[in-house]
Symmetry: C2
Subunit: 461 residues, 2 copies
Amino acid sequence: MAFDSAVQGELLALLGEDRAFFDPATRQLYASDETPRACPPEAVVFPTRHEQVAALVALANRRGFPLVARGAGSGNVGGALPAPGSVVVSFECMNRVLEFDPANRLMVVQPGVVTDDIDALAASAGLMYAPDPGSGAYCRIGGNLAMNAAGPRCVKYGATRDHVLGLRAVAGDGRELKVGGRTSKYATAYDLTRLLVGSEGTLALITEATLKLVPAPETVASLRVCYADNAAACAAVERVMAQPVVPCALEFMDSRSLSAIREYGGAEGLPEGTRAVLMVEADGDLDDVPHQIALLEKALAGPGLLEIQSGFAAADIKNLWTARKSLSHAVKKIAPLKINEDVVVPVARLDRLVAAIDGLGHRFALPIVSFGHAGNGNLHVNLMVHPDDPDEMARARACRDALVEAVLGLGGSLSGEHGIGSEKRRYVARELDAATLAMMRDVKRLFDPNGILNPGKKLPD
Amino acid sequence: MAFDSAVQGELLALLGEDRAFFDPATRQLYASDETPRACPPEAVVFPTRHEQVAALVALANRRGFPLVARGAGSGNVGGALPAPGSVVVSFECMNRVLEFDPANRLMVVQPGVVTDDIDALAASAGLMYAPDPGSGAYCRIGGNLAMNAAGPRCVKYGATRDHVLGLRAVAGDGRELKVGGRTSKYATAYDLTRLLVGSEGTLALITEATLKLVPAPETVASLRVCYADNAAACAAVERVMAQPVVPCALEFMDSRSLSAIREYGGAEGLPEGTRAVLMVEADGDLDDVPHQIALLEKALAGPGLLEIQSGFAAADIKNLWTARKSLSHAVKKIAPLKINEDVVVPVARLDRLVAAIDGLGHRFALPIVSFGHAGNGNLHVNLMVHPDDPDEMARARACRDALVEAVLGLGGSLSGEHGIGSEKRRYVARELDAATLAMMRDVKRLFDPNGILNPGKKLPD
């Protein structure tokens, strides 16, 4: 690494004085993402154009410093955590919508556009950008592309990767790529578009994305469904996913989540004995949604069902979601640190995953709160710990290991939507066999031979 | 190339006497696909297991002969056309369904399973394998995976690539890969799954695929919609794709198609003056489909509309499709050779594409019949020629060139669903810029350093 005043000068020359920062305050501000870990970068830069990004990659290769791409820094696996000696490339100032073409159901955006703003602009023409990460109000589409972000609606519409038609990007070796296109069908070249989506800034820096939009549904309705235990709720998830009406949300809160809400507020109106809740939504046109809701209610009914409440008007829907929305707050009160795993299993094995997590909580004497996108078999498993208690932290480490074993044993995967980053990469070699992992490393080397882009992420050392 | 009796012996030892053939009759039988071109391979082999495929790739690397993967040989761009000195790897005997897991909406298949059989098995549990290529009754899923095949339903459900969760494969360098997984969401490793889909047997040989299934709709209804001219039909396509109800087919026949049907049979019942037809389908549950059809009829109405006929019962639907189904037969009567381009443009530019094709027909004095998946902007443009007329063939070549220019000028792509194969690769460098094409070549070299797999396909020389 040769990060000195000469490099500083080159960065300033490239980006201008108001787009390259070396002061401790700025470096500290960009030292972390939502992971409880920090590493101040050497510099933070804010490119505004593709050409600057290309020049930046060329400079990084020439001078040998790492580049860490960053959207809003809202990821929670260390995807945007600076590497030692690195320059953070914040895409906050590449935040323009370059083209909105409703007739062709597409939008071309720079990586710094806020995800919800894309959806809002699409909505102005009766369209929708379907992926809806929980951080949508502030996260940037570039981060979504990096991690293959998803959200509740993805059970019906698919994740970020399913909504990208084409990309403009700069590979780690400096080559400027234009992959994919503007059409809804494509059988021409190798699909590097979907390879770059989810590659966590380790292969290329994305500078433009052509996103696919879908028709916006006329209306949405919600169900809050209360069960006597986790198993009853999981069985209902399996029944819902085995019948034809695909909900646009199928969210689960386990018994531990409900204990937390009861203790710290938000459980008002839940029937006594509720030990698991499903939040279910249907979208479509005004005539059809009640019909979908009726069919979903039928599938949701079964042993252990305590209550189904439906909401069709905005105020009622909001009310039904009160318990779910209070969950984040309640969980934080259990313990100061949340170790969030984002595991995914085939949906009909969700019951076994939830039972296994229950067992792990007892075995390691840890409060584990699980909730998430049950329709995809994707749970956020939160180990609640005190970071200053070394014994608890050791148990948490062992518990994570055991959780990974359980998930892989059920045919699942380490991450459904958060990605791998720095925090989960030590588990990757358990999921991938050696030959496949070696090929992944070769792909990394092909795109980024000098290891400039986001080192120490995604793949294990 | 060292294809001699020693190699023959090794192939026999590897596959057994009933799975490796060197006789002229078999080699001739596997010398071509649906492209009007032939090149007998040196041998045809029929592996039955993944391990044999891995051993075959190792042998090909050691001995230096090319392997050309083949499903049913129903492709029409030369994707399965043997290279000189090659061994055809027919997957016809790897035709087992390894696992059908309706609760998790997935099926694990070998590449030789016939596409329609997958859909039929899925239907037995109320599910559907959505991609529906016209050759579904006999094509093999391996070929579909190689080409990213699609069909009418893909306007609503997406193409083959959108329905693959994971793959087992042998890369050209012999490495055995397991990519993707069994879950409906996935953010763990690089997405090599979708990279291999559509790579036309040039990167790896796929030996197992985990396919995603969707709920089967309860019913389907059809509309046959007649227009006074191409422009009126294209405007209707644009209106349909701008409103919320996504049809499960939106097929177009241009004025030349209708002339052919009129001349050679199949036009009975079409109103006088019909110069373009849309075939539109909606699927869903019994209560909802009539509602969808009503909304589609509204969008389809506009200037130049002559007639809308709807069909809800199977017999009526079949009747409505008569003209469309007679088209292939009628087209063949125009001239002995059909040069089939499979171009795709953003859907709102379909009108301009169709007008451009009309202009090309006049300019090059060629009958050009266009029809296809209008909802995706994906047209099959058929130049009808006499192969023994050198002047006509020269005009056809010039016309193809001009068509490619027109398509790329409209922001489109060379292929929507047929792929590139040997027949279109000379155009690829017009669509991809030099840096992107170089990266594609590097990807090829990474997976297949000795160029063993399907040489002379997909990428230009």
